[in-house]
Structure formats: C-alpha cells, structure tokens
C-alpha cells in the first residue's frame, strides 16, 4: 500500500515503531503531487524543501524519542489563507499575490512545534469567498472523484489534496461551510470546531465572528488527531475560549447506545437531491440500529439563516478587507496619482468580482440608515438561530442533516448563478451562525460522487460528534474508498 494513501494514525503508529521515516512519507506524498497535481490543481504553492527539512527534524525527534506530537512527521496541506512565516500566503488573490508573512498563525506554530510536515499551501476561493474554488485568481481546483466537477469551497484545495492523497491531512477554514462542504464534495472528513475552540490568529480574516480553522482528513480518527493538535486557548486571539481541551482520541468509541439524535426537517430543503436525502436517512437508520434514539425535529427559523448570513459575513468582510490597500504589503496599482486613487485603483484591480461584490453589500449594510434594517436585524436572527439550537439540544445530543443538498456540481455550472451557488451552503450556515461544532463525513455516493452527512453538536462538545462519526465509520466502509485518479 502506498504511503501517501495511508491515514495519519496509521503513519503515526508506523513512525513510532520506526517502520517508516517521515522523509519516506514526505517523499511519497511529494511523488503523488508530482503524479496528479497537474490534473487536480490543489495547491498554490508546494513547499517541498520546507517539507523535507521538517521531515528530517521529525525523524530526528523520533530517533531521540523526545515525546513527538500526534502529527510529528505527517505531511499537512495548509489552506493559503493561513499565515506561514517566510512562505507566500496569497488568499488566492491578486492583492496578496506576493505577501510573505513575518509570522506564523498560531495553529501553524502548533504544528511546526511538533515537526508536522508543511507540504504546501492549498488553493481556495479568493479570500475564502465561494463554494467551488473557482474564484481563485490562480486556477480552479478539480474534484479528484471527477475532474470535470468542482471540489467545493472555499477549502477546495485542502479537500482535494486529502482526497487525492496529495496530503495526509489538511487545515482549512470554515466561515459558512468552507470546510464541511468541500469535505462532502471530495468524500473526506471535515470539521468546523466550536467558535473559540481553535485560535484564529494568523487566519486571514473573512468574517471574524464566523471564521474558524479546522481539519480535513481521510477518517474520523485523523480528524480527532488534528483537532487535538490545534485546539486550545491562545492569548493572541481574544475570542479563543479558555475551555480545557479534552482527549479527543479517547472520545472515539464505537458506541451510540442511548444517544439522542435529532433530524431537523428544515435542512431537507426544497431542491435537495433525493439520493442525498435517502443516503442521510439511511445513515440515521443505521445509527438507530446501533442503539441511538432518533427523532424528527422542526427548526422553523432556519429559513432565515441564509439571508442573515449573507448580510453578516459581507458586513464584517467589508471592514476586515479594508486593510488590503497597497500601503504596507501586497499589490499596489501602478496607476495611482494620489492616495485616494491608490486606494481605489489598488482595490479595484486587486480584488476579484465576487470579493468586490461582497465588500459592496457589506459596506451598504453597515452604512448609515440601513444598519438597523440589515446588520442589526441579521444579528437578531442570529440570536433566534442560537436559541433554536439550544432548544433542540435540550432534546437531542446531536443533530443530523445532509452537508449539502446535492453532490459536487460541474465546473462552471453555477458560476453564473450566485444565488444557486449560495444554496449549496444552506445546510452548513446554521452551525456557523450559532458557533456550534459540526462535522461532515461520507455516507454514500451518487454517480461516483460522495454524499456528505453533517453531524452538529453542542458548544465545545466535539467529543460527541467524533463519537457518532466514529461509530458510523466503524460500521460502514465509505471512508476506505479513494478516487481512482492516477490509478486507473
């Protein structure tokens, strides 16, 4: 079995037993990148030299036996909106095309400290705004299961890299579904942790109150390992919570007996693919057969989450993205004659159409006279969404829904229809708005494209999510499937 196809926990055990070196693993993954990257385009930058140096450092620490971390020596893909010291971090935008951060994101620092192997910076929709990774200024990433389909987005590069064995695990970011939706499309595990579980320091902001870093992995055990490695209080992020990090690997129990699982009907929206719906219900039946108590539930406020999100996220983005102005870093228009024209031309030329459109919506929603009708209203909806989840969790331990209403769509198929594009986030946005954790795992296929199952939990209860997902995985074999890419 090729090393690049293995999971992080398998490789970790092999490394600990010295059956393999990190250099061998890293070279295998770099070899796989060499083989398929031309077709997938998962990466913006492949950092082969840094990866090999980290691999050697990892091997040295294994040799010395000095308490290696869970991801020591494991190749990790990093979404290119995570700041990496000395390595270009572009957000797939012209405006940051040559930005080299002088510092590491906290999550990256945690990985670097345990000598995880940074294999490359993965592709995304510009500034994480999009659901298909087609809005990258570099190139679109392809879905490894079907190269004519999108991988989802915005962490499409990270999801594709893991699915195509171009990385063992990956870090992505999720604002309205940007980890879970591509995980679903690419048939990998993706988790948005609770807001405040993982430090956002060094994650280039899209919408601060919604952004969250999280894992994309081949199975649930790897997801637990990555989550364990990046979680915890960080003095550099005010909203990163001071809540103890439990042992997530210990949460991996093949047992759902007595767990109460709710299925909110509003997530089975109009236009949902019946095969997706059927696969999700089949998963619920399986969990029921394993001893879980399952019941239907109704959350009527969910129909307002999409418009609320599409006000809140652009509003915050319009302010967060103001700093990209051509003064201290990044692209500056050559056409500037005075400071104002420098601002205007730099931003006009530096941002893509989707980003500009969201900046426009957000600027408008925050402007005088409209604040109450839009921004404040959306924040009130957010309160109702939060309350609706609180009510649901008074009855259930977790909620199960589809991750997306359909499987991956064709490249270019929806880029002309922004509203339809946004509908792909309809099931993932509610968890974002209420800050709860949610995981996507594969629960079936349609036309050889993966179907995602979303499990949502209570604030800071990633353990129960992992337990349900793990139980499902142990009793199915979806997670063992790999796209045929390059192996036909």
């Amino acid at each position: 079995m090729e090393l690049s196809t293995r999971t992080a926990h398998e490789l970790h055990n092999m490394l600990v037993k010295k059956e393999v070196s990190s250099r061998e693993i890293t070279e295998a993954v770099l070899g796989r990148i060499e083989q398929v990257e031309g077709q997938v385009s998962a990466y913006i930058t492949v950092t082969a030299d840094a990866a090999l140096a980290a691999a050697d450092a990892a091997d040295e620490s294994f040799a010395k036996g000095d308490a290696p971390g869970l991801l020591t020596g494991i190749p990790v893909a990093l979404k290119d909106n995570l700041c990496t010291k000395g390595v270009k971090t572009t957000c797939a935008s012209k405006i940051l095309k040559n930005f080299v951060p002088p510092y590491n994101a906290t999550a990256i620092d945690k990985l670097a400290n345990m000598h995880a192997v940074p294999i490359g910076k993965s592709n995304l929709d510009e500034f994480a705004m999009g659901s298909s990774t087609e809005n990258s200024i570099f190139y679109p990433t392809k879905n490894p299961w079907n190269l004519s389909c999108v991988p989802g987005g915005s962490s499409g590069g990270a999801a594709a890299a893991v699915a195509a064995d171009e990385a063992i695990v990956a870090l992505g970011s999720d604002t309205g579904g940007s980890i879970r939706q591509p995980a679903s499309f690419c048939g990998v595990v993706g988790m948005k942790p609770t807001s405040g579980r993982v430090s956002r320091y060094g994650l280039i902001a899209f919408a601060s109150s919604l952004d969250q870093i999280g894992p994309l992995t081949k199975d649930v055990t790897d997801c637990a390992m990555v989550l364990q490695s990046i979680s915890g209080k960080d003095p550099m992020d005010s909203i990163c919570a001071d809540v103890p990090v439990p042992d997530y690997l210990a949460a991996l129990k093949d047992d759902v007996k007595g767990l109460k699982i709710g299925v909110p009907k509003e997530f089975f929206v109009q236009g949902i693919d019946s095969d997706v719906s059927a696969a999700v219900w089949k998963a619920v039946e399986l969990l029921k057969s394993l001893g879980a108590e399952c019941g239907e539930h109704s959350m009527p406020v969910m129909e307002y989450t999409l418009p609320a999100y599409y006000i809140l996220a652009p509003s915050e983005a319009s302010s967060n993205l103001a700093r990209h102005d051509g003064v201290r870093y990044g692209f500056r228009s050559a056409q500037a004659t005075d400071v104002d024209s420098m601002f205007q031309k730099t931003r006009e030329e530096g941002f893509g159409p989707e980003v500009k459109q969201r900046i426009m919506i957000g600027t408008y929603a925050l402007s005088a006279g409209y604040y109450d009708a839009y921004y404040r209203k959306a924040q009130q909806v957010r309160t109702l969404v939060r309350q609706s989840f609180e009510e649901a969790y008074s009855k259930f331990d977790v909620l199960i829904t589809p991750t997306t209403p359909t499987v991956a769509f064709g490249l270019g198929e929806r880029s002309g229809n922004p509203l339809e594009m946004k509908l792909t986030d309809v099931c993932t946005i509610p968890a974002s708005l209420s800050g709860i954790p949610a995981i996507s795992i594969t629960c079936g296929y349609k036309n050889n494209l993966p179907i995602g199952l979303q499990i949502m939990g209570k604030h800071f209860d990633e353990e129960t999510l992992l337990r349900v997902a793990y139980t499902f995985e142990q009793n199915t074999s979806f997670h063992k499937n790999r796209p045929a890419l390059g192996r036909e």
């Binding site: 909106n81 995570l82 700041c83 971090t89 957000c91 940051l96 930005f99 951060p101 002088p102 510092y103 994101a105 956002r200 320091y201 060094g202 994650l203 280039i204 902001a205 919408a207 601060s208 109150s209 003095p235 550099m236 992020d237 005010s238 909203i239 509003s315 915050e316 319009s318 302010s319 103001a322 700093r323 990209h324 102005d325 003064v327 201290r328 870093y329 400071v339 104002d340 601002f343 600027t363 925050l366 402007s367 005088a368 604040y371 921004y375």
Partner: protein, 480 residues
C-alpha cells in the same frame, strides 16, 4: 447689529501612560527610528488580532471617575471605518454606544464665577501612525511607531461659551488627568490634543449654528487664540451676510489665523459596528471601587485645602496645584519649613522662570523640596541675604547641591558678628574722616555711603541690619 454667542464643545485625545500599546505588546516610547516599534498587530498585517491592554482600560475607568462620570458595568469595542494611510487596518478600534464613562462634569472658575462643564463621554481607542508630508517629490512617508498607542477621548457637552472658558476647561482637565497619572498631558508633544467644535448663534436663540472643528492647537495659549479667532471669524462672516461651512480648520499659530483643510465630506460615514474580534467588558462594582480608591486628591479639592491650610490666595493656590508634581513639591517643602508664603513666592517666581527656560517640569528639577525650604530658612536666620539667596539658588538649580554646601564652599556666609564687622567699620571710618564729619554734622545721606563702603569690603556678605546697627554705634562713640 445682531449679537452672537459662541457655542463650543471640546474633544480631547490623551495618550495613556501604559508600557505597551493598546492591542499589542509593542513598547510605548517616544522618538526613535521610524517603524521600529511595530508588530503584525499594530501594522494591521493580515491575520493579526487585537487583545486589549488591561491597564489602559483601568486608566480610562479612573479618569471617568475623576471626571464625575457614570461608569456602567457594560462596555464594548466598535470599529470606526475610514480609509487613511496612517490607519493600518483602515478602521480604528474605538467605542460607540457603550463608552466606559458618560454624563460627567468638571467645574471651572472664570472671572471668579464657578461654571460646570458637562462631560458627554470618555472612551478608549487606538492612535494612528504618523504621516510626514515630504517637502520634495510627490509622496508622503508613514511611520507606524505611534500606531496603536492607547488613546483616551474625552468629549464635553456644548457648554463652553468663550475662549477663556475653553482654555480654563483644558487647564483643569489637564490638571486632573496628570494628577491621576494616566497621561503626561504634553500638548506641545501631542500627547494631549485638543479639538474644539465651534459655532455661533444669535444671543438668546436656542438653535445651534453650523460648526467648524479646529485642529493643531498645541498649547493653552493656542487654544485661547484659536477659539477667539474662530469665533470672531464666524461672527464677522455672519454679520457681513456670509455663511459658515461645516469643515475642519487648522490653526496657524505663526500667522494667528485658522485655515480650512481640504477634507472629504464623505468621510463622515464611519459605519460603526461592534468589533467581532473583541469580547465585551463587564466591570464589577469591586473593580470600579478599586479604581476609585486609587484616585488621589484632585486639583480642585487640593486648591481649597491649600487656601485653608496654608493661608494662600485663590490665585496662588490654583497655580501651585496646577500640576500634581508642583503641589506635591510645595507640600514637601512647607513640611520641612513652614514659610507658606515665602516658599510659594519662590516656586512661582524665579524657580518657575528657570524651569520654563530649561523646558522641564518641577519634578525633573535637581532642586530638592527640602533644600528650597533650607534656603528660605537660611534667609530667615540671617545666614544669607535675599540677594545672595538668588545666587545660591541658581547654583542649586544647576548642580543640585544643597544651599548649605554652596554657601560653605563659596564662603558666602553672611558676616554679622561684631568681631568680624568692627575692624572693617573702623577701617572705613578712618579712611573717610570728611564723610564721618559730614554725618556727625547732621548729613544723614553720608551714612549710606559708609554702609556701601563696608559692604564693599565684606564683598556684599555683611548682614545689612548688623552693619547698620554697629556703624551707628561706632559713629556715636566717635562723636562722644
């Protein structure tokens, strides 16, 4: 002709005396090479995040309490969005709906009348960087060392009615802020910045006129002159049938005029919203009381106590309590030697003049309060004359030596004993027989000449009273 009355509100920005910046750990220092005190946070680099400085918040609570403001439990941070190259994130973290302090006041005295000036709000924000407009070439330079410093904004109600009141408000405010130790309050260095909003309206009417905002007022004097000029300009404009444009005007201290600044109207739309990167603050009653307990005696109370305890005039007491350092200095000096009036006169006279020309504050002076007291005691004890004291003080100011040391090393002790003075007196009498005769003949003026001669021989060290007394005695003996 219609009589107009000015309506003035003042915004003050004070840099807080914290060790580190408001939202990052870069040190707060003045001067230094450009862009050497920055980090990803205060440079606003992508991905960086703010974490608020606890001491800065405590300072603003303390200042709010000193300004008689309400401090509510709940407070939070907002973003003020506008583009400017000295503002790294193109938004400023500030406060909006829930400032730390609100509805306060301070009392000022103008022409002997006490007037209460309302304080609308006191809030925390971050400072911007510094822009340098290059004299040659088509560019500006940006230094972010100052960017992100903790800045407190204090906004009055539109209660101020004259340039004198504006200055008096600022003098009082600065005294309070420096007393409580939250800012060094140096207008010249820009650590205390004053921006008045000025409008005028026909006397007796209620409706506010169109206001202008004044910038670049770097001293109390500039505040007075700038406000006075702007009020006059507005009144003259209206009287001659013109109108006032809402704008920001820059005070030109050299030319003594205000000039309109070309700023863009649309900048007024700041799109405030709660900063999602920062969590709310919730001040416990315990925290607020703790900050209240840290407040020292404030200038007004201290002034009143000085008048009572040290029998000083209102003007002297106000002057002596205008800074905490000066008041502390005075109290320490009179503690060592209770010549209340004498020490007051010295501090406000020669001492202040010398401090001003050296450009330092009293607490940076080499003269210890106990030594100033010692000097006064030496005059009273006739060890030195008042004239000698001036020379001694100059040396105290320059070297920090005690008056005793100086007098001793310079041999400046006053000569007043008979054993030292009689030989000199006798010599002068024998050298000037004609003049002695004139005196004995009733010419009183000749006495003065003889005293002068004696002072010359003693190199000015003769104790005038002793010289007078002994010379008269000798002359009467001569006569006899």
């Amino acid at each position: 002709m219609t009589e107009y009355e000015p309506v003035i509100g003042i915004e003050v920005h004070a840099e807080l005396l914290t060790n580190s910046k408001m939202f990052c750990s870069c040190p707060v220092e003045f001067g230094g090479e450009p862009n050497t005190r920055t980090c990803p946070v205060c440079l606003g680099l992508p991905g960086s995040l703010p974490v608020p400085n606890r001491r800065a918040i405590e300072f603003v609570i303390r200042a709010s309490l000193a300004l008689n403001c309400e401090v509510k439990e709940y407070s939070d941070f907002y973003r003020k969005n506008y583009f400017y190259p000295d503002l790294p994130k193109n938004y400023q973290i500030s406060q909006y709906d829930n400032p730390i302090g609100r509805n306060g006041w301070i009392d000022i005295t103008v022409d002997g009348t006490v007037k209460r000036i309302g304080i609308r709000r006191v809030h925390i924000e971050e400072d911007a960087g510094k822009l340098i407009h290059a004299s040659v070439g088509n560019e500006s330079l940006v230094d972010y060392n100052r960017g992100g410093l903790a800045l407190m904004e204090i906004v009055t109600e539109a209660d101020i009615r004259s340039a004198e009141e504006a200055r008096e408000y600022l003098v009082n405010l600065r005294a309070i802020l420096t007393y409580i130790g939250v800012t060094n309050g140096k207008m010249e260095e820009g650590t205390l910045r004053c921006e008045p909003n000025i409008s005028v309206r026909p006397k007796g009417t209620e409706k506010f006129g169109t206001k202008t905002e004044l910038k670049n007022l770097n001293s109390f004097r500039a505040v007075y002159r700038g406000v006075e000029y702007e009020v006059k300009r507005q009144v003259e404009a209206l009287q001659s049938g013109g109108r006032i444009i809402q704008e920001t005007r820059r005070w030109d201290d050299d030319r003594g005029i205000t000039i309109a600044m070309r700023t863009k109207e649309m900048e007024q739309e700041y799109r405030y919203f709660p900063d999602p990167d920062l969590v709310p603050m919730n001040f416990s009653a315990g925290l607020i009381e703790e900050q209240r307990s840290l407040l020292p005696e404030l200038p007004q109370a201290r002034k009143e106590r000085f008048m009572k305890e040290f029998d000083l005039s209102a003007a002297d007491a106000e002057m002596l309590t205008s800074t905490r350092a000066m008041a502390d200095y005075y109290e320490e000096a009179v503690g060592a030697y209770p010549d209340y009036k004498g020490i007051s006169n010295w501090i406000m006279g020669d001492f202040t003049r010398m401090l001003n020309s050296a450009g330092i504050e009293i607490d940076a002076s080499k003269v210890k309060p106990v030594d100033l007291a010692g000097l006064l005691k030496m005059i009273a004890d006739n060890v030195i004359s008042g004239k000698m004291a001036k020379t001694v003080f100059e040396e105290m100011f320059n070297t920090g030596a005690s008056p005793k040391e100086i007098v001793k090393s310079r041999g400046m002790v006053q000569v007043s004993s008979e054993t030292e003075l009689y030989p000199i007196i006798d010599q002068v009498i024998s050298e000037n027989p004609r003049i002695v005769q004139d005196f004995l003949g009733g010419k009183e003026k000749s006495f003065g000449f003889l005293v002068g001669q004696i002072m010359k021989y003693t190199q000015g060290r003769g104790n005038p009273q002793a010289v007078n007394q002994l010379l008269r005695k000798r002359l009467s003996e001569t006569k006899g």
